[in-house]
């Protein structure tokens, strides 16, 4: 307990508080239910000070309070009771069962609110949902659990980023991800690098660093009404994460959580042809050493000279994926020590995560230290919160375009090619001299072992997230609160192409360091449930906020190593360096007032004004600020009206909100120039820095949202339905109006984007069986969001986003269409829809490449989840099925599998022996059905590679996302041990794809988390995980 005293002392010093006088007394009592049975774990709070404790195993509590103060005693499932401290009062209470579970959720600015007062939709997920079946990126554990929140990983392996979208995309090209707030402090979620059309690796995002074991709860504020108080940064919704505190602990508690998970690729849907061997022109005689070419003759076991000059049987060599990807492993161990007293609590934790990805040479080692402390001193209470996170990542896998992407060859090698023959004399894909053991005469087709083992991309991220807040209860209804938080990290990355790579023989590398910090300071003044008259209460506050972000980076790069294999930038022939700096600030004033009538009708209004540094420029005429408001109403019908008994609770809610956003990037208002590179023969090189045409008059966008909802609970709360309809519109989105590159620029900035989203969210809970020994619950959630691009720019022309490496398609915003159309080349068809072909001299039909058109949409409108929890005595079983529907994907893997003949679609039912039958029309419109000779089939399919339509798939799926089987060791077994609680669970993630409308690849295989969704190009397989989780408390 010495530690606790020291913390007390520290907080005293921190607060510089002195000279308070107040008369406190220790009171104690017993809390029982209506039958007089003690209630352990009931919450006891002094309303005026927020001091709190919980009852012990026997229902007893003790707490300090002054005369005249009130104490609220609450317990889940029971009505909260309030008693006033006074002479001779009886502090033993018995609670009455509540008809409504008094649910408390964390809302904006960390304020806990009873759900019934909320005029908007908030979904809270308990930490146990995240702690048990862990993901290296904690937020992935929410997938499928919250209606209206779309969570998509990408095929970047365990270290990858996650795209989270709430109620649709609200910005055409700006950030669409929510604001993450951890213990009251907004944190940075910048993606530090990802793959694009030319390849690359995912360098992770900000939220992935959080330790899943430390999460107490996650609250998702979906709509603008919920988010207005966080300002423009919250225009895409807010995810509030509360980490575990030391509250409710008797004395000192030690908690140990250990989990181990094993990953494999058993669920990878790749199903290539295994009948025809390597070769071109329907022969084994490969004219070039192209190990991807699946155009050989049927495998016949004959001895054929292969790519490396070695003759081997021309036969199926087995599944190269299984040979290349090995078992992934993740170990997460957390130790936490908690302690609490009547006036404060503290929790310290240490966690270690070690992950070995399924691809060779890719690991993550994460160490997290955290401390949460809370202390009350009279009318002051202080929270201090500190997290230190160290991520050490080795070998971020490259995705998309070929060089260095090990996933490429693994899927394309012809069946007569064995990846295990490619290790090379030097091992790990090298020759004896350490250079690449080439497996193709195309220098861009990398030996996969070499790509995984010799390419390097390692990073270290050291991060501190800290906050301190002080609350001063000025009177019993008025308080002031100040809060300061910082999120700062240093990120260092070393990446490069090794010496001896076929396409870049002398290699290259870069070193970069980035420091980024975000500071938030808030000061606000508020009232707590101030009763104006009997039936009227007011909860209100006003505040100011300052948010400041800066980042500074330095980099050094070099190409052509002088001493082979010495990976140091100084050891390169050509060196370059870079420096970057940017900063921005938002200042805000905000206020909120909630008026409650009879504790059954609640009206909440908010207003906020944001000033943006990013929109400030001397001489600018358009405003650099925006004022926006929200109003929401909650009507608890069941408290106002006599409803049939079957209805235990009914609430209607409605909200309207505005929120500004989109002004996240500095320095976009004017044209600037830079001196680039290092000159040439003494002359310096200067040029325009802007790739986009600047616009000095841009303003923030404004998003308006309306939502209505119904919260209905039936049969004694055993069946509940929560339904929401919302409709939002973003006006004046800052868009890069597409410009022809012949203008010199790729785009021009303007406030011209308009986008709407409309949707429904449905959450159903059913408690089918409720008894002492057996509980059975079902949950179902469903969301359907329809987006529409209303305006892209003044001319209504298309707004182009990213393209895949085939460059025959672009994710494009098209007026009148949904967000992110997949706009690419199509088959040229006649009026009857028949494919038009060019007929070659030998009669071979080759399909014509038709115009670009809308081939699909990369964002699935429908997402759903279905889950169940069962408990029999101490045994519990839960599962979650999750799915998406209605979207499409461009699959580069399938496009190239067809190009190279690995795809089964390139083979007729009777094989290639008799050719390949094609029907269509020729250029004159004459219909034909003809058989392409076996040696010309590849020419047909090579052309289809130019036709994006051929590689478009519906991206619908249903996945058994997770299953856990848990056992809580009964208390009587532990009675004579030092363990107070123990739980063991078997867990599984991504167990099966119950349905998948994409061929050969996982439907969630996009290569980045940008706005250009729906692009797939040789990503990592999505692994299946099986594991064990143990939680012990001492």
């Amino acid at each position: 307990m010495n530690f606790n005293k020291n913390i007390n002392l520290l907080l005293v010093l921190l607060l510089l508080v002195s000279g308070f006088t107040f008369a406190q007394q220790a009171i104690s009592g017993l809390v029982t239910d209506e039958a007089g049975v003690p209630l352990p774990g009931a919450t006891v709070v002094v309303d005026q000070t927020n001091d709190g404790t919980t009852t012990d195993f026997d229902g007893n509590y003790s707490i300090s309070a002054s005369d005249g103060q009130s104490i609220s005693i609450s317990f889940v499932g029971y009505e909260t009771l309030s008693i006033v401290v006074g002479d001779g009062a009886d502090y033993n209470v018995s609670l009455q069962p509540d008809s409504l579970l008094d649910e408390v959720v964390v809302t904006a600015l960390g304020i806990e609110r009873n759900t019934k007062a909320l005029g908007y939709s908030v979904t809270q997920v308990g930490g146990e949902e995240i702690n048990e079946i862990k993901s290296t990126n904690a937020i992935n554990a929410l997938q499928g659990k919250i209606a209206g929140v779309q969570i998509s990983g990408n095929a970047a392996g365990a270290k990858g980023s996650t795209r989270v979208i709430i109620r649709g995309n609200s910005s055409l090209s700006g950030n669409n991800m929510p604001l993450y707030v951890v213990d009251g402090i907004p944190i940075d979620n910048t993606n530090l690098g990802s793959a694009g059309v030319w390849g690359g690796a995912d360098a992770g995002d900000g939220i992935s660093a959080l330790n899943p074991d430390e999460i107490e709860s996650v609250s998702v504020l979906k709509g603008g009404a919920a988010a207005a108080l966080y300002g423009s940064r919250a225009s895409n919704g807010v995810i509030l994460i509360t980490t575990k505190k030391g509250t409710g602990v008797e004395g000192i508690q030690v908690e140990v959580t250990s989990s181990v998970q094993f990953d494999d690729i058993k669920n990878d849907p790749y199903d290539p042809q295994t009948t025809y061997g390597q070769g071109r022109d329907y022969s084994t005689n490969s004219d070039t050493v192209d190990t991807y070419a699946n155009w050989g003759i049927p495998l016949n076991g004959s001895s054929v000279e292969q790519w490396d000059g070695v003759s081997r049987p021309y036969s199926y060599k087995g599944n190269n994926l299984e040979k290349f990807y090995s078992g992934g492993e993740t170990y997460i161990n957390t130790v936490a020590v908690s302690s609490s007293s009547q006036t404060g609590n503290v929790r310290m934790s240490y966690s270690n995560l070690q992950n070995k990805d399924i691809i060779p040479n890719s690991t993550l080692d994460r160490n997290t230290f955290g401390i949460n402390a809370n202390q009350k001193i009279g009318k002051f209470s202080a929270d201090v919160n500190l997290k230190y996170i160290n991520d050490d990542a080795i070998g971020a896998p490259r995705l998309s375009d070929s060089p260095g992407n090990a996933n490429y060859g693994i899927r394309l090698f012809a069946p007569s090619i064995d990846v295990n023959d490619m290790l090379g004399a030097g091992g790990l894909g090298t020759n004896e001299d350490g250079t690449e053991f080439r497996t193709s005469d195309n220098t861009f087709s990398q030996n996969p072992w070499f790509a995984a083992w010799q390419y390097f991309d390692n990073s270290v991220k050291e991060r501190v997230i800290g906050s301190a807040s002080v609350r001063w209860d000025i009177t019993d209804f008025l308080y002031a609160k100040g809060r300061f938080g910082i999120d700062r990290y240093d990120f260092g990355r070393t990446s490069g192409t090794p010496y001896g790579t076929a396409y870049q023989p002398l290699g290259s590398m870069s070193e970069s360091k980035l420091t980024r910090q975000q500071r938030d300071a808030d000061l606000f003044l508020g009232t707590d449930n101030l009763k104006i008259v009997d039936d009227l209460s007011v909860t209100a506050f006003v505040g100011v906020n300052q948010n400041y972000v800066n980042s500074e980076s330095v980099s050094a790069s070099g190409s052509q190593f002088i001493v082979p294999f010495l990976y140091n930038v100084k050891n390169t022939q050509n060196q370059g360096n870079g420096y970057g700096f940017n900063e921005r600030q938002i200042n805000s004033v905000y206020g909120s007032a909630e008026i409650g009538y009879k504790d059954a009708i609640f009206l909440n209004v908010t207003a906020r004004n944001d000033w943006f540094s990013t929109l400030s420029l001397a001489g600018k005429e358009a405003p650099n600020d925006d004022l926006y408001t929200s109003a929401s109403l909650s009507v608890v019908l069941s408290d106002l009206l006599e409803l049939p008994e079957v209805i235990s609770f009914a609430k209607l809610r409605a909200g309207y909100s505005q929120v500004a956003g989109g002004a996240g990037n500095p320095y976009r208002l004017n044209l600037t120039y830079s001196i680039v590179d290092q000159g040439h023969q003494g002359a310096s090189l200067g040029r325009i820095s802007n790739g986009s045409i600047p616009n000095s008059e841009i303003t923030p966008f404004e998003k308006n949202e309306t939502e209505i909802g119904l919260d209905l609970r039936l049969f004694d709360n055993r069946f509940s339905v929560d339904f929401t309809y919302y409709d939002n519109q973003t006006d004046g989105d800052i868009v890069g109006v597409s410009a022809s590159p012949t203008s010199g620029y790729g785009s021009a900035l303007a406030n011209l984007g308009v986008i709407t989203n409309e949707g429904v969210e449905l959450l159903i809970n059913a408690n089918a069986v409720r008894s002492d020994d057996f509980d059975l619950n079902f949950t179902f959630n469903y969301a359907n969001n329809t987006s529409e691009i209303v305006s892209t720019n003044d001319a209504g022309t298309n707004l182009s986003l990213d393209e895949p490496r085939s460059r025959n398609l672009r994710v494009t915003h098209i007026v009148g269409e949904q967000y992110g159309a997949l706009f690419g080349t199509s088959y040229n068809r006649d009026s009857q829809g028949r494919i038009i072909h060019d007929i070659e001299a030998d009669g071979t039909p080759i399909p014509q490449v038709g115009p670009r058109k809308i081939l699909g949409f990369g964002v699935s409108p429908v997402s759903l989840g279905f889950g169940s929890n069962m408990r029999y005595k101490n045994l519990s079983l839960s599962f979650l099925i999750e799915g998406k529907n209605g979207g499409q994907m461009f699959s580069g893997t399938n496009a190239l599998a067809k190009y190279f003949g690995a795809h089964k679609a390139t083979i007729d039912a009777d094989g290639r022996e008799n050719g390949f039958t094609v029907s269509g029309v020729d250029a004159n419109g004459s219909a034909f059905t003809t058989t392409i000779a076996p040696d010309r089939i590849e020419d047909y399919w090579r052309r289809t590679y130019q036709i994006a339509e051929e590689a478009i798939y519906d991206s619908n799926y249903l996945r058994l996302r997770q299953v856990s089987l848990g056992y809580r060791i009964p208390g009587d077994v532990l009675e004579n041990t030092f363990i107070s609680s123990a739980r063991v669970s078997l867990i599984g993630r991504n167990l099966f794809l119950l349905s998948n409308s994409v061929e050969n690849v996982d439907p969630e295989s996009g290569y980045n988390v940008s706005n250009s969704q729906g692009l797939e190009w040789f990503g990592m397989p999505v692994p299946r995980s099986l594991g064990l989780n143990v939680n012990l408390k001492f």
Partner: protein, 500 residues
Amino acid sequence: MKKIYLVLIVFSFVLTGCDFDKGFEEMNVDPTKAAQLDVNNKFASVFLRTSGGRYENWRASLIYSSQIVQHMSSTATYWTGNFYTLNQGYSTSLFDRGYPEQVKEIEDIIYQLTEEGVSDTQMGVARIWRAFIYHRLTDLHGDIPYSEAGKGFIEGILKPAYDPQEAIYMDMLAEIEGGIAQLGANTLGGSDLIFQGDVDKWRKFGNSLMLRLAMRLTKADAATAQAWAQKAISGGTMASNDDIAYIQHTNGPAGINRNGHGEVFDADGNMRISKTFMEFLQNGNDPRLPILAARRSDGSTTAADLFGMPNGLTGGALEAKYGTESSYYAEPNRAVLGGFDAPMVFQTYAEVEFLKAEAAQRGWHTGSVETHYNNGVKAAMQMLSSLYPNAAAISDAQVSDYLAANPLNTSSPMEMIHTQYWAATFLNEYEAFANWRRTGFPTLQPFGGEAVYPGNETNGEIPRRMIYPNSEESTNPENYAAAVSRQGPNTLTTRVWWDK
């Protein structure tokens, strides 16, 4: 209650006392960037970017142009120019890089000079260089954005119109003339990566470029061609190999400093000397042979070891027909030509002499056809050692021997003149491609006379154009459509205006 009032007063004081955007205008100025530069800083950049990076030199120059004109050949099927197949991105690579890099920068320079009221050498050089940049683009693609291009910021034009090639040519010629007239006593100083501040050489280059552009029009508009050619010649063109327009590249420190072709040589071993070009060199007993060619397998430059690769054959087809592998054949001699620090040549004195020979033959110029031809051949041979340090010098005697053995056929000299032009523009592939299309010389057989490559895009014809990027369809649809409807389908075989 006093406490409450105090708190409220303090809080409202905080609110009202705040200037909520104090310091924001200063904060939003990028501390790492400049509001404007000395224009000379921009010249060096635009020269290097015109020389270009690996990207377009690999694709538009080597993979397409060098293969089409049968300077080179390759068995790798992604060398699409050898098989007349279409790779959109390769075909559009100069267009894709030329506008955002070269055009954007030269238009910015001219805008700055105009704003600053500069009308002497800097403006003259800028106008000549702008014409140089655009002539390569229009020669490859035909009608292109010209009068409205590169002005996204300057004039807010996001979707530039495509100008007809005829109008572009008329304007480029006038611009060169105007630019030459502005060349004065001032220089670009150290930023003049082409002529190191020698304004007289800029004048000669301006006239030589004018001559190149003028002669380009012989098929389309002979009268205009004649008028401008005469103006160019009388203005004074390049007079020796000292006047060659080129950039000396260096091996780094950055990619921009390197010769784009040199970077391709470093990255790609698939290019070979075409059988067509090899036979020309061998048949003439050309002293350039061991300088330009070396056997792929061992770098040998011994004449007996050098074989040209037939065009249009994949490795399998080559092996099937000739029983050879690709390493058997000669490649461009990387020891001489292939360095990162090799010069990138824009126009040579030799070319000028050949154009003058043609002008003389047409009667547009009074000089001797034969003299110009001989001067051209001599210059083309002797420039190699002045441009490439590792090239053996070709002596006057060797030149004389060659000319004695290969005298100009004065009765029909065009084929020899332009075949020599073709040889002289080895590694200036854009120019070789344009001049071949105009003159038809040397006479090239599709696929070098080999079998028609199945799956080609041109119905077996030699391509005559590079296509427009697909992106123009979406980012500039009306203007793109107008250009296609005026010029013809966006294919490899549609002829540009001066090639009709």
